[in-house]
Symmetry: C2
Subunit: 376 residues, 2 copies
Amino acid sequence: MRIALLGYGTVGRGVDGIIRSRVPELEVSRILELPDRLTDPRMTSNVDDIVNDDSIDLVVECMGGIEPAHTFIASALAAGKHVVTSNKAVVAAHFGEFAELAEKHGVAFLIEASVGGGIPWIASIEKVRRIDEVTSFMGIMNGTTNYIMDSMRRDGLDFGIALGRAQELGYAERDPSADIDGIDVANKTIISACVAFDVDCVREFPVTGIRTVSKRDLDLFASHGLMVKLFGRGVCKDGKYAVAVEPVAVPLMSLEAAVPSNFNLVSLEGGTIGPLKFYGQGAGSLPTGNAIVQDVLDVARGRRQRYDFSRGLTYEPALMTCDYIYRSTVNPAHGDAWAPGAWRVRNLTAESARRLLEEIWQQDATAFMAALPQEV
Amino acid sequence: MRIALLGYGTVGRGVDGIIRSRVPELEVSRILELPDRLTDPRMTSNVDDIVNDDSIDLVVECMGGIEPAHTFIASALAAGKHVVTSNKAVVAAHFGEFAELAEKHGVAFLIEASVGGGIPWIASIEKVRRIDEVTSFMGIMNGTTNYIMDSMRRDGLDFGIALGRAQELGYAERDPSADIDGIDVANKTIISACVAFDVDCVREFPVTGIRTVSKRDLDLFASHGLMVKLFGRGVCKDGKYAVAVEPVAVPLMSLEAAVPSNFNLVSLEGGTIGPLKFYGQGAGSLPTGNAIVQDVLDVARGRRQRYDFSRGLTYEPALMTCDYIYRSTVNPAHGDAWAPGAWRVRNLTAESARRLLEEIWQQDATAFMAALPQEV
């Protein structure tokens, strides 16, 4: 099978290396690169050289960003080429359009590498759904924020120091907003919900990151037997669904609390299978490259996953309701004292919890909030 | 696809229920049961009614035990029927023979449910191996012993009380030897090694259970930041491999230490994928039934996994070497004091560690041993 890569950054190089050294049945025959970086005879800076080349069966998009990735993926699908991508931003923005194009042109559109790096998360959801409904999912889906919170707790670092280390190690961008404000997790949550619930997931839902978390906050939760991590979550029940991204308090002695460094842990709950959890490297050249090559091998062996979002689920924020802890100089309305400087507000939807946090931020921009699910 | 069940205990009933309620493309048309339990028109007590019935495509064996399961599986494969089994004892004893029969008769032999219940462990190893070598695996593969050790630590119970509770809850048999002496884990370790390393794994290797662990032992390890769990492990390197079953000390703040109740957690390490860990229900009617139905669906969709053990790996115990802690009234040769009543012996193979434990047991039958891997 002949493959073209769109993009030759960390992930593209990983894919190229894995195929060359380990998968002789596949061949990377063209690579799209910028005009000033054409260092390999396979490279071109003109995407038409790839889309119009009938010898290419499959296009791997690993450029990142929304445009021109969106246009290139749509063109490749319309030209009858299978597409495999690791680009969560473009999938989250255009999943429905890509799925329809793939269906119309009888090709595969696979996205394993877009969530959880090397963890077989998307394929596992799909496999579970052959038998079960997926009733909920939740995941530590962002290695950067896990690294930050894990360093704050294990090594006693302040947020700024931990973020700086993450940047030194290449886990965080120079502008870390997409990670620490939860935008990256929001994209992965949209994609997970689309696959788990068969719905073209809403793009407007509560998203709160970890920008205001302090070492003292983690100490406070630890004194209650809890650790806080940033989660993407989804629930589906009776034809309705809800999603949210927010810090969540979990028991200190839980798998979630134990996830070290920049690893990911994603969980689902199915009707007969019960809970399943998957742990691994959520990013990096080789793990993400591995997930892409697995998708390519699936296509080579005939897999044609269809995504059909016509089930008509309704978005219902009330499905996701629990208690919330606010650490702030402001005492929120209906807040019960939980600890010095921290209040517990009962039975909020993720949406109203986020609105309340925004109100509190008007007076105290340092305030921090974490969900406290019933099970805790 | 028409299916026959051999056995209608917990797992068989789970398979029947899942297929009836969730998978209309499959049909359970015959069930082998004991003569005095033929309560359903599909039931027969004569296995020939199934093996000689050309309308049956696939046989699910969930009787347990070695005979007559071994004879029935071999007959079904020889009759050109696919076989799916959850029976770890018979697979561990006869994997090579079954694989050859399946190959010869062009049928599938699938074993997902034999290790880790509902966790997609076998399929995940196979998928990883499409790209990577699996260089090692380790797993909490027995829910009963995890329940016992987790209750001892979380609830401060003594071994006997925790075992009694496991028996009350139906997690442990009245004769708990197969669980607490590591025999069940040994079977699952053999099967995992066969699949992960492509070798007809040896049956003679070090197997130590948790029969002598005490609450004080767990407190002692906890004071060193460690928790002990019963693991099946395998390593493969340079054409050699080793396997062992023994208590292993892991960091208190690790996923392994956090595994609650009767859950399982199995891990592998691959060349490009890095570490992957899978968590879920390791037993039970619905999770195990789910794993069986997944295998049946794979067969229905054309999967013909081949197992070929001709790679010729050598069993090399020296591959598995680390320090060991012995808690005993006897000071073992070359033991350094580790804590009052406990010694650390450095750089033992799992085989010599087990031999040393047997020597110590001659004088102190209550002695307990745990491996202390380098990483800890």
